[in-house]
Symmetry: D2
Subunit: 349 residues, 4 copies
């Protein structure tokens, strides 16, 4: 059961609902969106119906639902697809967002250099990993909090808000102090404790699809985050595991329109990790925008041959120019705002 | 070992090479392309080297190779990607080709109606199945030769060349009499006898990827066709089998740029069969062109609710208009000739 | 709709049914089993019901069914699981059958040597390929009819009935002249023309599972064979394609009990092709018998290092002794007849 | 680089090595096994070689290796496969271990009843989940610490040591207080923080294979645990995700012999979760023992129709008798100690 509050509902009204639900043995999870608050109830629906919740102050709508996911479903945002705002930058149906940066933060110099490359190419958000989940315990695991400080310094210098991965529930608060958006990686898509912690952190979340997860499981993972109070979730398709070996994973572009029918959340694509090859990043990015994605997330590195992580897929300066032009042309063809125009405008004035 | 003949090599010069190779116990397969003839040799390469083939009349180049596929590989067409011409219609790097028609030929009326829909939307080739490989022996298996005659009649009426599937080696000659292009379906991609028969039939071949086949196996299947004398092969990605169940198969768009690095053959995409859902055909078609495919192959049906085969994925008239505009806009953005301009030009004159 | 005839139904009675069905526009397929004849009807079931078929002479039972497969389903053999007899050798619920031989027939000597190895180890059927479907057109494709003649000679010498693959419909009659059982390989499981030709050939058929096929598709492929008159079908699981790369394919042992719930047909396992590694053949063979399979099919080669096809998975003499003992011990534990006892008995008398 | 200490090496000798390695900028992880201590080094191998570690007191052997996993590899336990002891119960090459219990701990009564069923059937370890990672946030998530207390009570009553899942790093110490063995579930196989926490907890660990993980990734996950000091790891294959839908997952029995070639760790099979169907548990359990697994892990429930989690796959009393007899017969055939004899012996005395 889901309760949508009116836009001007007060905190007291929200907590009054929660108290009532808990008084009959139910649980209530409060999700605060930009424009309104939603309360998801867990427990005996028939009992809840005896509470006459729809007549309570601050309540706009009460819905009894059976869908497996509720808060992230399309039905529960009748006004259409969501826009998530990260440090002032929009991700949603009107924009083509380029998030770029190094796979791993290695040094202040490398991170700054990569961020400047990214910015010059039209990226409006900086990505970079300080905590790296690696298959091998003998591989580079990231710089940890030192990496987060580097990212914050580079943000100060470039103005680019930071998207960075968190891999353990007890790190969430620390990462949230530095980051503008928390990333949940593919291997943690069903790390439910981490999802819940991220949902409580008060920052937007980028949720990558598990490389072995169905679309339904992915939306259910988003629901875990939403249930803990965060509706500012951006989904990111990054390839699934199949028998094909010429690419690292198989990018499932169909997931974008499928998700958009089921959920109001924005969806991006990561063409770098799905293909694992630099030469595929540009064509897959074009496919991403053409299929309807709200943006792409790419690895860049000033010196890919020296990268400590995933060098073979990182773009270099020349690639980025071409990528940027392609994204802008395709995005405007799809009816989105130009990535370039506002900048031109600024330069002109 | 592969021998590329000069453009003006005579038949006698070609057969002289074949005789020599066979005289030392080897086999030679002659492949005649639009502009030149290639001979693929099988047997003891060291022995072949003693024949001094590169000095023979009509020989342009002799290459000793170790790639698993030769005739279809990129290296063996240094002048770049191929264009295949089907009944006067080009499929290749300069064009965006729309092939459309009913999944199965059911009646003359339904086929003509579908062909007119397709033509109006800018399709330049008509697809339609007279032989349908079906999972169940109790499902509609196609009209057979009667279906081929219907296709020929509809071609006469509309001017659209015909692409149609062949499912058994002994049907190849009959189908080739009616068809402008032979289609090998996903379930027959490793039906090697059928590949060889199709390669000898003197018609261009559309080779769909096996739903469980790697890209390497797909190119090897194309090599079977090429080895029997046909280089006019168009590859078609139509989705692979994965764990995801929200789409019938998972469209592997990455396959397009991967194949284009490895082979000179044109590559198309079939968004209808991969998704199995009408609402996905348009976004997946856009992704197809944006990723670099040379065209798309879609199911259309005047009355999908009555279709004997795959009705849920067939486009109707309104969809087709939108598809056609999207393909044209994206194709021109990708540097291809407009699908619409030539017709306008014709109408104007 | 399926009609089961009485055990003593005459040919005239069978054809009278067929005529009646055809007279109302239906199709009837006659399947002759060891003990009774079944007729499968395709067409308008309601119309068939007006024919009062159950009252006709020779008819034991008429069933209106909706299952996707009929003739091969468990329901249509209420007396239990089938036993298929190949050249006097039983494959079914009472026996543990070892089919062994070289992957490819190369020379008379190699084939005889392999057959003697197989026989000594308790194999009662000889396998060996004369037609080899190979991914690459440049790989050894088998000896063709010469290979079949070698197999026939080796059968004459050893007394082992022959199981051999057929890859094209037009070869079926020739192969059936030499073979005791026709094998349909994994790449041809949905080569429907081949299935139908094999079903008409009058010989038992070994149907391997497609490496990408679901169990339902597999049973549907068996139905194609059954519908053309052959119920003497043995299914063979040989591994499916997954993301795991340490084995060639992933042996799906669960398929055995799943199939046995759905179908009356015997099921074997091929541990050689699924694993692709000699060291896995013994443990996977044990798993096969323990999970309930009716036997195993293994590659043997007197000199695997010289094999033209799949050498790395072929067993040698010492392996075979151990395999044979393991199969016998496990088979008897599962309540099957000993593989060894009858031979001992023969030797004693 | 890996350093194997002598059996009588002192703690001081171990820490002296660690200090030396850290003094040159490396990291050293100490793993204490039953009979000896191993130190895994990370960092510049060439630098380490200058330390002359092999000459240090307490050092038995120094190996410079390139395998991706070290501590869990077969090469690093030349004396053969390991036996892991859990609360006095052995899991290893000499025994057939049956671990049974309810999927989820629901009530004290249900848990005790299930434990008594399990014990009667020859199970020597009790499994049961107090923390349940569930795809849906609206599904039953387990009783948490209350469930752990129930398990401890049931252990006191039945004498069966307890295996239970832990899903978050911060719960590890609490779970380790109650449990005899920590289970890492399939969705957490690459939750690296959890692996590391479990490795430090001082309890044996049961590591389930990720449903999408390769065998190499699985061993690498085990290496994460080993690197933090725990070599008492038991691997558990529980099915991988494939295209087949008639079973929940596809049990990869080949993984058992493949792992046993690569690693010294014991390997078990969970036939309940892989098949997801009660009727498959017995045949898959037989296949498990026959392929060489060291035991099986099954769900039992006194009243499966009321189970809060995975009821359809839970065994009931009659199934368990048959399972127990089959495991014992197959295990002894494989050369393992009988599961039943010791108990008979105890009853007799």
């Amino acid at each position: 059961m889901v309760i949508v509050m009116t836009p001007d509902a007060t905190d007291e009204e929200v907590w009054a609902i929660v108290d009532q639900v808990e008084s009959v043995g139910g649980s209530a999870f409060v999700s605060r969106g930009v424009s309104r608050t939603i309360i998801g109830l867990i427990g005996d629906v028939d009992l809840f119906e005896t509470l006459n919740l729809s007549g309570r102050p601050g309540v706009a709508r009460v819905t009894r639902i059976s869908a497996k996911y509720k808060l992230v479903s399309r039905e529960h945002r009748p006004e259409g697809r969501s826009t998530v705002v990260v440090g002032g930058v929009s991700i949603g149906p009107d924009t083509t967002t380029l998030v770029a940066g190094p796979c791993a933060v290695e040094t202040p110099e490398q991170t700054l250099e990569a961020a400047l490359m990214a910015k010059k190419a039209g990226a409006t958000l900086l990505r970079g990993g300080a905590f790296k989940p690696r298959t091998s315990p003998y591989a580079f695991q990231g710089l940890g909090e030192l990496g987060l400080r580097i990212l914050a310094d580079v943000r100060a210098e470039t103005g680019l808000p930071v998207v960075t991965e968190v891999v353990a529930p007890h790190d969430v608060d620390m990462v949230a102090e530095y980051a503008d958006m928390l990333q949940i990686g593919t291997r943690n898509m069903q790390n439910f404790g981490l999802l819940q912690a991220a949902g409580r952190a008060g920052k937007p979340v980028l949720l990558k699809r598990g490389m072995n997860s169905t679309i339904e499981e992915w939306l259910m993972a988003a629901e875990y985050i939403a249930q803990r109070g965060c509706l500012d979730i951006v989904l990111c398709e990054r390839g699934i595991r199949t028998f094909e070996t010429s690419t690292r994973n198989t990018l499932d572009v169909s997931a974008v329109p499928v998700v958009q029918r089921l959920s109001h959340l924005p969806v991006m694509i990561d063409p770098s990790h799905s293909g694992g090859r630099r030469d595929l990043v540009l064509p897959l990015s074009r496919a991403a925008i053409a299929v309807g994605a709200d943006g792409v997330l790419v690895d860049v590195h000033p010196h890919p041959e020296e990268a400590l992580c995933d060098g073979p897929q990182a773009l270099v300066t020349e690639d980025l120019q071409e990528l940027s032009q392609a994204l802008d042309a395709l995005g405007t063809l799809m009816g989105r705002r130009s990535m370039i125009e506002p900048w031109r405008h600024l330069r002109a004035s």
